[in-house]
């Protein structure tokens, strides 16, 4: 019988070598995480260090594995999967739900009305802003700037308030259902969102003044963890991390789903303004400007949102998709989130596989962190913006 013992990746440490003056030097293996303030959860990176310089970095994952895919198979109703989907990328639950709902609707051939589509897009874009705020805030925190982090959180709270009014939850919404929404948005939704947009625009400028263009911050992030576009594509990196390398690839534009083809927005790409193209600063600034673009989408969607329409209209009584399979991908704040769902014509999914962007983006970490310093490791992990809930699922 084969042993199930996990084989840990080889970590080679060079034997001590003489430094020439009678002293010996040796590489040092350090475990960064799973309990480390800057690994964004429970990531463990096994670092081999030559002094402060990283010789190799091996990420170890699985500390937050919750059997998402197996759980989905155990559910006797496709609707019951939605709360589990929320818990994958728990800082962007709306986007996860949106992707899952779209996949199921495509499978069952459900058309939802325009109001539902608009609300979904607004929610998804608000969630994108909230998620990016958290990403840039914690990135600043990794670099050592504490204050921007909390300023970002204040803005994020405002978005969560909007979500709470609509769905009743602040983090794990279970709001976007197969074929519709849980509730219609509250009466003052339009006003709340418009107020938020008005108050948020100056905050982006302030964030740029306080953090993005701070010289120390730029020094810490520019030319660090350079991810060339070819490497990024080869590793399957997606989302802002890919666009930071200058690749203009955004599923909202290149494979439009929902009603994104109706809206006018730019795909932000990194330009290498502060250093090399594809460095940490580029990945960071793409997120900052994407918030601005999301605001544009929200504004347009609010304008064209129909006032009438039943959000429960096309929710199926019993979700029983025809036998078959589907792969549906959407652009979440972290990249391409794909759901591969197989149905065996029963009410319970035969298989739900999620292509999690964080997981794929994390795979590029060893490639871009060699030669960096320990402090840069923190910046690189922060700039790739992983959520361990999604990496481990």
């Amino acid at each position: 019988m084969a042993t199930l013992k996990e084989k840990s990746p080889e970590v080679t440490v060079t034997p001590p070598v003489s430094a020439g003056n009678g002293l010996k030097t040796q590489e040092m293996v350090v475990n960064m995480g799973p309990q480390h303030p800057s690994t964004h959860g429970v990531l463990r990176v096994q670092l081999t260090l030559d002094g402060e310089i990283v010789v190799s970095a091996v990420p170890h994952i699985g500390y937050l594995h919750r059997c998402f895919e197996k759980h989905c198979e155990a559910m006797n109703d496709y609707n019951k999967v939605v709360p589990y989907v929320d818990r994958m990328d728990y800082v962007a639950a709306m986007n996860n739900e949106h992707g899952y709902a779209l996949a199921m609707e495509r499978m069952m051939g459900i058309e939802v009305n325009d109001r539902v589509e608009h609300i979904r897009v607004i929610m998804a874009e608000l969630q994108r802003i909230a998620s990016h705020l958290l990403a840039v805030g914690t990135f600043g925190l990794d670099i050592g700037a504490f204050t921007p982090f909390l300023h970002c959180f204040i803005e994020r709270e405002k978005i969560l308030d909007i979500f709470e009014k609509a769905s009743g939850a602040r983090l794990l919404y279970n709001y976007i259902w197969i074929g519709g929404l849980m509730n219609d948005v509250p009466a003052d939704f339009k006003k709340d969102t418009t107020d938020f947009i008005a108050s948020f625009r100056p905050q982006i400028k302030e964030l740029n003044d306080l953090l993005s263009h701070n010289k120390i911050f730029v020094d810490r992030t520019a030319n660090v963890g350079v991810l060339p576009d070819k490497v990024a594509i080869n590793y399957g990196v997606s989302g802002p991390s890919l666009r930071g390398s200058g690749v203009k690839w955004d599923l909202r534009r290149d494979d439009p789903y929902s009603i994104y083809d109706k809206f006018d927005f730019d795909v932000i790409v990194g330009e290498g303004k502060m250093g090399t193209l594809g460095d940490c600063w580029d990945r960071y600034i793409v997120r900052v400007w994407e918030m601005e673009e999301s605001l544009k989408i929200i504004e347009q969607a609010l304008d064209s949102m129909p006032d009438e329409g039943d959000v429960h209209e096309s929710i199926p009584k019993k979700v029983r998709p025809p036998a078959g399979e589907i792969y549906c991908r959407t652009e979440t704040p972290r990249g391409e989130l794909g759901y591969y769902i197989i149905s065996d014509k029963s009410t319970s999914p035969y298989r739900v596989k999620a292509r999690a962007p964080s997981f794929v983006n994390l795979s590029v970490l060893p490639a871009i962190s060699v030669g960096a310093m320990v402090a840069d490791m923190v910046a690189i992990i922060g700039s790739v913006d992983i959520v361990l809930g999604e990496v481990d699922r």
Partner: protein, 345 residues
């Protein structure tokens, strides 16, 4: 004051003891206040409130509560640590910064010891701090601690150069190393008719000198943006990682004492020490102590302000800043101040 105490108590050693623990009392009370202030400053800069509950008014007793908690905590020493060095390190750290207070004139009536090489003594004894941090880092037997300690060694040794050179440029003007005399030279409001005779107004280069001194002092006291030895988001806690309870508390106390020390040195060297900014108005030994601490606290506040604004430098950038910018600049400045002194005196 010493004479007064001597006549009052008529016993030499006791007077010396009472006299010598005055800075300790000041440091302890100041640390309680400064930690509370830091939390408040941080809170309000981040649109929060900071501590609000303990003690009633704006959580003034929060630090006291924390102190009591720290004293009660278990004193954990890692199994593989070098026990003796591990336990000694915090005491040496605190002794280093406490020892330096001896040479600082807190008011016209009080100086711990009237040593003629006061400035030199302060520079020398604060170097002990880096020894204690290396001790702590090495003895912890933790790789993060070790990294932090190594950073400290590099940082402290480097930044002592610009600190000393900028202090030297002040000494050129004053001609004495005794801080009491340095302060006395700055009394009166003669400059441009109304400005106090502070050294910072001596020449434009002095402003630059103060600036360099302040940056170097930030690095010496390991404050953001130079807090690399502990840098909690990279090195977990640096040399403090394995410390807990009151030993950790002593490191914390040292950090704040160090901030005050360097602020007071800065205030003495550049801002007239215990001299009142209004000439003879509000002057005197007690007012002197007030002015001295006020000037120190203003600089401490600026340090806090910087901490909650700026990110942290990387270790190689830290070295770059020191060796490529601060040291050449401070030497050039020293020469310029020397010329200024030759021409205008």
């Amino acid at each position: 004051m010493q004479e007064f105490l001597e006549s009052f108590m008529s016993s030499g050693p006791l007077v010396v003891f009472v006299f010598s623990i005055i800075p300790l009392k000041i440091i302890l009370v100041y640390a309680l206040f400064a930690i509370w202030l830091e939390r408040k400053v941080a809170g309000h800069m981040q649109d929060r409130l900071g501590p609000m509950e303990t003690g009633g008014w704006h959580g003034w007793a929060q630090t006291i509560a924390d102190l009591l908690k720290m004293i009660q905590k278990e004193d954990i020493v890692p199994a593989k640590a070098d026990r003796f060095l591990f336990k000694m390190a915090p005491f040496i750290a605190f002794a280093a910064s406490y020892g330096a207070f001896v040479a600082i004139p807190l008011s016209s009536g009080y100086i711990g010891s009237m040593i003629d090489v006061g400035v030199f003594y302060i520079v020398a004894i604060t170097s002990l701090l880096s020894v204690s941090i290396i001790m702590a880092g090495w003895a912890s037997n933790n790789k993060w601690s070790l990294l932090g300690a190594m950073r400290t060694a590099a940082q402290t040794v480097s930044y002592e150069v610009p600190t000393v050179v900028t202090i030297l440029s002040v000494i050129i003007v004053t001609g004495t190393l005794n801080l009491m005399e340095v302060t006395e030279m700055q009394s009166g409001n003669g400059f441009l008719g109304f400005l106090p005779n502070w050294i910072i107004f001596h020449s434009p280069f002095m402003i630059l000198a103060f600036f360099l001194f302040f940056i170097a002092a930030l690095a010496e006291s390991h404050r953001v943006p130079f807090d690399l030895p502990e840098s909690e988001s990279e090195l977990v806690g640096g040399y403090q990682t394995e410390y807990s309870g009151m030993r950790w508390g002593l490191f914390m106390l040292t950090e704040y004492a160090d901030m005050l020390l360097l602020s007071l040195v800065g205030a003495t060297l550049f801002f007239g020490g215990w001299n009142s900014p209004f000439g003879s108005f509000m002057d005197g030994p007690l007012w002197g102590a007030f002015w001295m601490l006020l000037k120190g606290m203003v600089l401490v506040f600026v340090m806090m302000w910087l901490r909650w604004t700026l990110p942290r430098l990387r270790v190689d950038q830290l070295m770059n800043l020191c060796w490529k910018y601060l040291i050449p600049l401070s030497f050039v400045n020293l020469v310029l101040i020397a010329f200024w002194e030759m021409i205008f005196k």
